[in-house]
Symmetry: C2
Subunit: 190 residues, 2 copies
DNA sequence: ACCTGAACACCGTTCAAGT
DNA sequence: ACCTGAACACCGTTCAAGT
C-alpha cells in the first residue's frame, strides 16, 4: 500500500472524477473548489493547475454527464428519455448542464441526437424542434431535481390535494410527445 | 432634505425594491447580501431583520417578477408570451424564478394562468399541459438570458453558420404552439 | 422597530516558491 | 509536471448591544 506520507499526484481526469462523486454527496450549491481539494488531499490552489477556473471544471462535469447519452436511433421519445435519464444520473445534473449550456448552443450532443432522430422521423424543422425539445427537457428535469431536494429537506408545503411528484412522468411524456410532433395519428399514412 | 447623518430606516418593501434594482445592474451571481446592504447604506446584518435568509429575499424577488404577469384571457400563446416577457423584465429573471420555483409547485400564478387559458380553450388535460408549458417557458427563457449574458462578455464561440439568437423567437413559438395543442397550419399562407 | 459591531466559518483566485 | 503557503478580496449568518 502507498505510504501515508507520499502525496498522490493528480491529473485532469482524477480531479473531474472526484468532483463528480462529490457532487452526488453534497449537491451543486455546496460543491466548492476547497471541498474538492480537501477530498483530493491537496491545497485549493492545486486545482488551478488542472482547470483554469471553477467554471471550466463545471463545464467538464457537464460534458461528462451529457457524454453518457447513447443515441438510441430514430425514436424521438426514447432519445428525450435518454437525455433526461443522463441528467438524473447525478445530483443536480440538470441544473449543472443548464447553467453551463449557454456557451455551446446548437453544438451539444444532446441537441444533435434529438435533431437526428427528428430528421429520421421526417420532420421538416428538425433543428428548431430539437432546440425546443431540449429546452423543455432541461426545464422539466431541473424542476424535478429541485423538488426532490426540497422534499428531502421537508421544505415542501404539505402535499396538497394530489401528490405532485406522481404526475411528473405523465407531464414529461405529454411534453415530449407534443414537441416531437406526434399528432393523434402518429404513423405516416400515404 | 434629510441630514446626511440621519440614517434612513428601511422595511421589507424598500429592501426588496433595492435588491431588484441591483439585480438588473450586477446579475444574480453577484447579488450578495453585502452588496444589497451597501446600496442601502446599512450593515449586512441589518437585512436579517427584514428577511430570515437570502433564500427568502430571493423568493420575494421571484414573486415580484411573476406578479407582473397579467392574464390576457383565453389565449394560451399570449399567456405564455406574457410569462416570458415578465421573466425578461429583469436580468436573470428566468433563472431566479426557476431556482425558486420548487417549493410552490402547482400553486404558481403563472401556471394557474396557463391552466385557465387552456381550460377555456377546451383542453381536457389543462393542468398537465400548463405544467409542461411552464417548464418549457422557464427552460427556454433561462437559456436565452444566459446566452445574452455570455454574448455581452464575448464568451461565445464565433457565431457559426447562422445567427443563433435570431431563431430563438421562432423556437419559442414552435414550442408554445406544440404544447398548447395547436394542430397544423400556424402560419397563414393562402 | 430597526440597526451596529464584531465575530464565525466559509468562498474563488493568484502567485511566488518548492520538488 | 504538479503542488504548497500565503495572501487578497470576498461570502452568508448569528447575536449581543445600541437607539
Amino acid at each position: 500500500m502507498a505510504s501515508p506520507h507520499t502525496s498522490i499526484r493528480h491529473d485532469r481526469d482524477s480531479v473531474a472524477r472526484t468532483a463528480l462523486a462529490l457532487l452526488d454527496e453534497v449537491g451543486l450549491a455546496d460543491l466548492s473548489m476547497r471541498r474538492i481539494a480537501a477530498r483530493l488531499d491537496v491545497q485549493p490552489s492545486a486545482l488551478y493547475w488542472h482547470f483554469a477556473s471553477k467554471q471550466e471544471l463545471l463545464a467538464e462535469l457537464s460534458d461528462r454527464i451529457t457524454a453518457t447519452i447513447d443515441a438510441p436511433g430514430p425514436d424521438v421519445v426514447a432519445t428525450a428519455r435518454a437525455i433526461r435519464d443522463a441528467l438524473f444520473t447525478h445530483r443536480d445534473g440538470a441544473e449543472l448542464v443548464l447553467s453551463t449550456y449557454a456557451l455551446r448552443l446548437g453544438s451539444s450532443r444532446a441537441q444533435s441526437a434529438l435533431a437526428r432522430a427528428l430528421t429520421d422521423a421526417g420532420a421538416d424543422d428538425a433543428d428548431d424542434r430539437a432546440a425546443a425539445l431540449l429546452q423543455f427537457v432541461l426545464g422539466h428535469a431541473t424542476l424535478v431535481q429541485q423538488r426532490m431536494h426540497a422534499d428531502s429537506y421537508g421544505a415542501l408545503p404539505a402535499d396538497g390535494p394530489h401528490d405532485a411528484t406522481a404526475g411528473l412522468d405523465r407531464i414529461f411524456d405529454l411534453g415530449v410527445n407534443a414537441l416531437a410532433g406526434v399528432t393523434h395519428s402518429p404513423t405516416l399514412r400515404d
